[in-house]
Amino acid sequence: MDLKTLYREVIVDHYKKPRNSTPLDHPDVEAKCKNPSCGDRVTLQLRFANDNLAEIGFIGVGCAISQASTSMMTQAVKGKSREEVRQIMTAFREMVVEGAEQPDAEALGDLVTMQGIAKLPARVKCAMCGWSALEAALDEQSEEVDMDQDTSMPEAKRGGGM
């Protein structure tokens, strides 16, 4: 899928009408992620029912990729078990950060449309912002994640702000 198609058919839609973009009433856990060099920010809230991610909500500002990626993520993980959520997370990271040629289509579902982001190295951080918040939430890490200082990102995809 070329860049324009990706934006036109997927990203802009989620950017303009983000899904699950309302704060939860009684979240079990909240996590934040930011991307200072781009100005992206995501606050994510989760509520579990037993082992299942029953509810998820986010508020965010930033570029279309960061917001659309977060919106799509919330759709993909809602209702899933912790373990399934982790699988989806891993698959998404492999596809976008590591550039896996054969992404795990089963785990990813609609998210495979985001594969093209792997070819936009400067935007990988944007696409990962909401996902890093999700990981922090699962790990019950209270400190805000900072994508510019996230050492799980390869050197070439981090970098100081210009």
Partner: protein, 415 residues
Amino acid sequence: MNEDEVPCTPLSPEEVRPDFPQLNRRIGDYPLAYLDNTAATLKPRQVIEAIDHFYATCPANVHRGIHTLSEEATDAYESSRKRIAAFIHAPRESELIFTRNTTEGINLVADCWARRRLKPGDEVLVTVMEHHANLIPWQIVTEATGATLKFARLHPSGQLDLDDWYSKLSERTKFVSMPQVSNVLGVINPVKTLTAAAKAVGATVLVDAAQSVPHMPVDVVDIGCDFLAFSGYKLLGPFGIGGLWGRYELLDAMPPYQTGGSMIHTVTLEKTTFADPPQRFEAGTPSIADAVGFAAAIDYLTNVGMDRLHQREIELSKYMHERLAEIPGLRILGEYFEGKPGIASFDLAYAHAHDVAQFLSDEGVAVRAGHHCAEPLHHEFNSESTSRASLYLYNTEAEIDQLIAGLGTVREIFG
């Protein structure tokens, strides 16, 4: 392309475009429209060949080694210093120190001049439009010495608020630093007038000339400043080399910056005495080939003529600003003014700067997105980031049209 023959002919980009191999590139189905010149310019083959030739013939170390290759390398290095010093009208070639970039030049002055002289109660005066390179060194040095860092504010037009600047200048002001041209707003500060005022209260003055030396004639004597810093890669030269000019008396009164080989006079285990400027400030093996490429770029610009280049650039800048004004929802940081350099930093009401740059890149248009190392300036304009289109001598009206068409696509998809 010889200035003597055609002194008054306006510069046409067609004159110079054949010299830039990068301009033959296509990005997907589009020709490259390189509008990221404020970040780094392209390089003409004359510069690439100068570096190539240096390495293929005399890649030896300098410092007057007694053999042919080292003599040639030393001559190439020192002749580069001479030509670059002449370009900014330095009275003496030994006033030109080779640095890595503008950043290193400013750090050197902050460290070897300001840090040794500032005391609690003293003030350093900069502006809100600083590039981080001319801000953070002053934050650090004022914090270390107990001095105070003051910021002159801007008008909403982006112009420096001169009243505010003068009101912050006083006998307490020991150092003044300012950009000659802002890398975001494109405003030109009246550095000559401000320098005179600063010197009248006894302050030492540095001009951040990273965006002026590449784009207009600059004369350090005419400005009257004490230090002036610039970078080679922003004026057709290689990466990794810049110039710091300083008045000889000041340089001579300064301790070294980095220490090691070739900046020394005599060394014993216990004690070292240091060489005169500029060697005192060039520890270790220098960037010889980059200096050679830097001078080749200076020769190229001299040949074109800085006046012609400047005229052409402000003409094309006018066209760019006119065309950008057609785009609904587009705001340029700072007001246009007659003679504005070719820099336009803008945001769009409906799309984020990074998405804009992404779409433009997809259509072959290279612009920069972000805060352009001027985060406080962006906050001043309530912006996190902008897209910036910036021009140089090889850019064309057609490339501006390509930018405008790209912004049309952005609008079509996001608007």
